[in-house]
């Protein structure tokens, strides 16, 4: 055999081997997933340190989300347009020390629910008697989500409800009743919003409010002037809703200051979150936009600067649907998780995990997308996600829900979707041009992700092994210790599906500590306050949430897992007022209730 022939034979063998590489990689991935998820309850507890049981029925929670029925001109694509509105937020509305749940509904005439925690493992829907149930009446729009914050510092969390319709503010009257104060607050008559966050952007001790529009505010989805209300581009759209920043004037009214403060965008906002990303004490604002790039606004106290490109988070456009923040590396720095769309062979955007680049900080902070390297990239048509230490091992894990439209299991709308999505703006922006869905699914029946942080720079999906096995169209997820056991339970709101409550059983070997903060000079909800916990060479920072993920709000209590036999050095509390308090050697296994000293 001549040298040339031999080389050709080798070449052919190498060529065939390379052709087989994708198959081998796929098989390995499947095998790895099977191994990770081959566990029963006992095995999951032993192997991963926790197990989830869906207990909504046993807890007396029987809630099924209803989607709206919009203008009949959208009938042919109704499932994909009327695809949001299932949302859950956590609040202790009556200050009894037990977390309650507020859940939105979106069918015209449907009722929202406030599940009061009875402290005995059960819940009762008290929304109607409290006056915050019947909020989806025709003509007023339908609910999309809610955030809770004590805007008047009276000690009780007030409710802001954002809708595709008229936004509403309800004052909490001592945990006994809610009073509608929308007009007094000066809120706009109509906003098609999918995100809102309470935060004290100017640190005057009063909670302000960010509200992000999705569809333009002049669009009434029940009475369309025409069908040109869709995004003008799948990844570069700027014909969405405006943004609002309501400055709290302290007398129950708010002044809209977005333009004055430098927030001016018509991207299609789906999620927002706040965090002190630079250590300035000011809360910076991150917005995940559908059909485009994310935006990051540095907060200089009263003025905001958009720095998405400069920081690296606002360059590659995707379909942002979630914004969660968490100190995943125990370095005292926040990373940001943005969910996007991934569908095999059609659109692989991948989710983004923005991690601060080593050596950058302050105004020069730069983020790298580490989602691929840390294995939290592919999550299907991803929606809400939250960071939390699910097994109390001292590292933040990540719970992600997904699935867009689950209809006919055997018919798929993706071909038609991709056909139109790549078209020119004049075509894509007109709903009349979109092919009919005809009962087909679009990224339906997807398995959720419970990504366990291994502490070595990787996350491992253990959803099936630990019991998160539902395949509903997940939207909003919130983490909360519902039964005051020192474990983070998971509540998931599903579009056109049930509200799921996953009760978490955590191995008792792993310890925990909690902090419930109440501001004095700072806003009373202590939203934006941080606790930096130092133990066994770790440092983890967490902040009190004013809303985040997708259309959700976690419990205000901060929950730290500590691992086995921890020695906690100290807890530093950084209040929005700028004050810092330190607790030396706090005891584990308890919740510290701390009021800011004046």
């Amino acid at each position: 055999m001549s040298g040339r022939t031999l080389a050709r034979v080798v070449l052919v063998i190498v060529f065939i081997s390379l052709l087989a590489v994708p198959l081998v990689m796929r098989r390995l991935a499947v095998r790895r997933a099977q191994l990770n998820n081959a566990a029963g309850e006992t095995a999951a507890l032993r192997r991963y340190g926790f197990h989830l049981d869906e207990v909504s029925n046993a807890a007396g929670i029987n809630f099924k989300h209803q989607a709206p029925t919009l203008d009949h001109q959208l009938d042919h694509i109704m499932p994909q347009v009327a695809s949001m509105g299932a949302a859950v937020s956590v609040v202790d509305f009556n200050r009894d020390g037990w977390a309650d749940l507020y859940v939105t509904n979106s069918g015209e005439g449907s009722k929202n629910a406030l599940f009061k925690n009875n402290a005995d493992g059960s819940f009762t829907d008290v929304a109607a008697e409290m006056g915050i149930a019947d909020l989806n009446q025709p003509g007023t729009g339908v609910s999309m989500g809610s955030v809770w914050g004590d805007y008047d510092n009276d000690g009780y969390e007030d409710l802001f409800l954002y809708k595709w319709g008229k936004p509403e503010l309800f004052h909490n009257d001592g945990g006994q009743k809610f009073s509608r104060v929308t007009e007094k607050a000066g809120l706009p008559p109509w906003v098609n919003a999918n995100t809102a966050v309470w935060f004290d952007y100017d640190r005057d001790g009063r909670l302000d409010l960010f509200l992000g529009g999705y569809y333009a505010e002049d669009v009434d989805l029940w009475h369309l002037r025409n069908t040109k209300m869709m995004p003008e581009s799948f990844e570069y759209a700027q014909n969405g809703g405006r943004k609002y920043l309501f400055h709290n004037l302290g007398d129950g009214s708010f002044e809209e200051v977005s333009q004055k403060a430098g927030i001016d965008s018509r991207r299609w906002a789906l999620a927002a979150n706040i965090a002190d990303l630079r250590g300035t004490g000011n809360q910076d604002l991150f917005i995940a936009n559908d059909y485009g790039i994310s935006e990051l606004y540095f907060n200089d106290g009263k003025q905001f600067r958009e720095v998405g490109k400069q920081t690296g988070v606002g360059f590659a456009p995707k379909s942002g649907m979630n914004a969660s923040v968490g100190d995943i590396l125990n370095q005292g720095k926040y990373s940001i998780y943005v969910s996007n769309i991934s569908e095999e062979g059609v659109l692989i955007q991948g989710n983004n995990l923005w991690v601060p680049r080593e050596g950058t900080s302050g105004d020069q902070i730069v983020y790298d997308n580490m989602a691929s390297a840390m294995d939290v990239e592919i999550g299907g048509w991803s929606f809400g996600a939250q960071f939390g230490d699910l097994n109390n091992d001292g590292r933040l894990d990540l719970y992600l829900v997904n699935g867009y439209v689950s209809a006919d299991r055997n018919q798929n709308y993706w071909y038609d979707f991709s056909k139109i999505a790549g078209g020119n703006s004049t075509i894509i922006s007109d709903a009349a041009h979109w092919p009919a869905m005809d009962g087909r699914s679009l990224s339906g029946y997807q398995q959720k992700k419970v990504w366990l942080n291994d502490g070595a720079g990787k996350f491992v999906d253990v959803a099936q092994a630990v019991g998160a096995s539902d395949v509903f169209d997940g939207r909003s997820v919130a983490l909360v210790d519902l039964w005051n056991r020192g474990a983070l339970d998971v509540v998931v709101a599903n579009q056109r599906g049930p509200l799921l409550v996953y009760k978490n059983t955590v191995t008792p070997e792993n310890k925990w500590i909690g902090f419930e903060l109440e501001g004095a000079a700072s806003n009373r909800s202590a939203i934006g306050a941080e606790v930096r916990l130092f133990w066994d060479g770790h440092q983890q920072v967490q902040q009190v949430s004013g809303g985040g993920g997708f259309c959700s709000q976690n419990q205000r209590r901060l929950h730290f897992g500590l691992g086995n036999n921890p020695h906690v050095e100290k807890a530093e509390i950084h209040w929005p007022s700028g004050k810092i308090e330190t607790i030396e050697k706090p005891a584990v296994g308890q919740v510290y209730k701390i009021t800011e000293s004046v």
Binding site: L11, L18, M25, S233, Y236, W414, S418, G422, S425
Partner: protein
């Protein structure tokens, strides 16, 4: 993507420019990519595209040295690499490397009568799309949906292809696509504009202007070149009616080599009849 521009521009344009004109097409494509990225962020990172280009070039260098005993001109490999870098979308790195290497290798392995059958980047991309759909997708929405990039690519593509004397191929394909869009609209009941939508995306122009016109992997007669791209559009229609997302790429993958083989066979028959034993 095509090496046509390099090949066919070579003689007429060389006289007018001092720059080696084999590099005009790669430069144009690089320019489009760069502008697209700077204005639209079409690439999630430069690294993936760079990886695709480097892998294509290294593979070409090594295989060229082994099988031809010389260092080959790298313009063709560069175009293959950049095509993979543009048309393939994946958050992972490995698909870009693998697609590029397979694309170049296909030129050396899948040969008949001294000619390779598949457009290299079309081969590599289709293999990845078919065998690793969980990891890759083709370029779809990332170039925006607005008129300016569409016009820019139409103009640049038209200039390059016209000078390369292959405009008739692109024109035939576009006309066929529109005709079949009418037919698909009648069959599916979807709006005509919905059926036309794909070709209005800027990414589709890359396929129209640069991939289906590759002189190395198209038949030789002008008439049959038009017939073949008509068939590509026809097969694409069949695939689209079966809701195949990457229909144009797969259509070219199926029709292109088949046409080449038929042409080779017909030449052989013609030679036989001219030289009867």
């Amino acid at each position: 993507m095509s090496e046509s521009a390099i090949q066919s521009l070579e003689v007429p344009v060389r006289r007018r420019f001092s720059l080696d004109n084999r590099y005009i097409a790669p430069l144009f494509i690089s320019f489009i990519l760069l502008v697209g990225h700077l204005f639209y962020g079409i690439l999630e990172s430069y690294e993936r595209t760079a990886l695709a280009i480097v892998c294509a070039i290294v593979t070409e260098l090594v295989l060229g040295r082994i099988f031809y005993g010389k260092w080959l001109n790298l313009a063709s490999a560069y175009i293959t690499g950049i095509s993979v870098g543009i048309l393939l979308r994946s958050p992972a790195f490995w698909p870009f490397a693998l697609a590029s290497v397979l694309s170049i290798m296909s030129k050396y392995v899948l040969r008949v009568k001294g000619r390779h059958l598949w457009n290299p980047s079309n081969f590599g991309i289709c293999v990845l799309l078919f065998m690793a759909p969980e990891a890759v997708a083709s370029l779809s929405v990332q170039w925006g949906n607005f008129w300016p990039p569409l016009v820019v690519i139409w103009l640049l593509g038209s200039i390059i292809i016209y000078r390369a004397k292959r405009f008739h191929i692109s024109a035939t394909y576009v006309v066929s696509f529109f005709a079949f869009a009418v037919l698909r609209s009648l069959i599916t009941g979807d709006a005509f504009l919905a059926e036309v939508a794909p070709i209005t995306g800027p990414m589709y122009q890359l396929f129209v202007f640069f991939m289906i016109t590759d002189p190395k992997t198209t038949v030789q007669s002008k008439k049959w070149q038009c017939a073949v791209v008509f068939l590509v559009a026809f097969v694409e229609m069949l695939l689209r009616l079966n809701q195949v997302v990457n229909a144009p790429l797969y259509a070219l993958f199926l029709v292109g080599p088949t046409a080449m083989l038929i042409e080779m066979l017909s030449h052989k028959e013609a030679q036989k009849s001219q030289n009867p034993i």
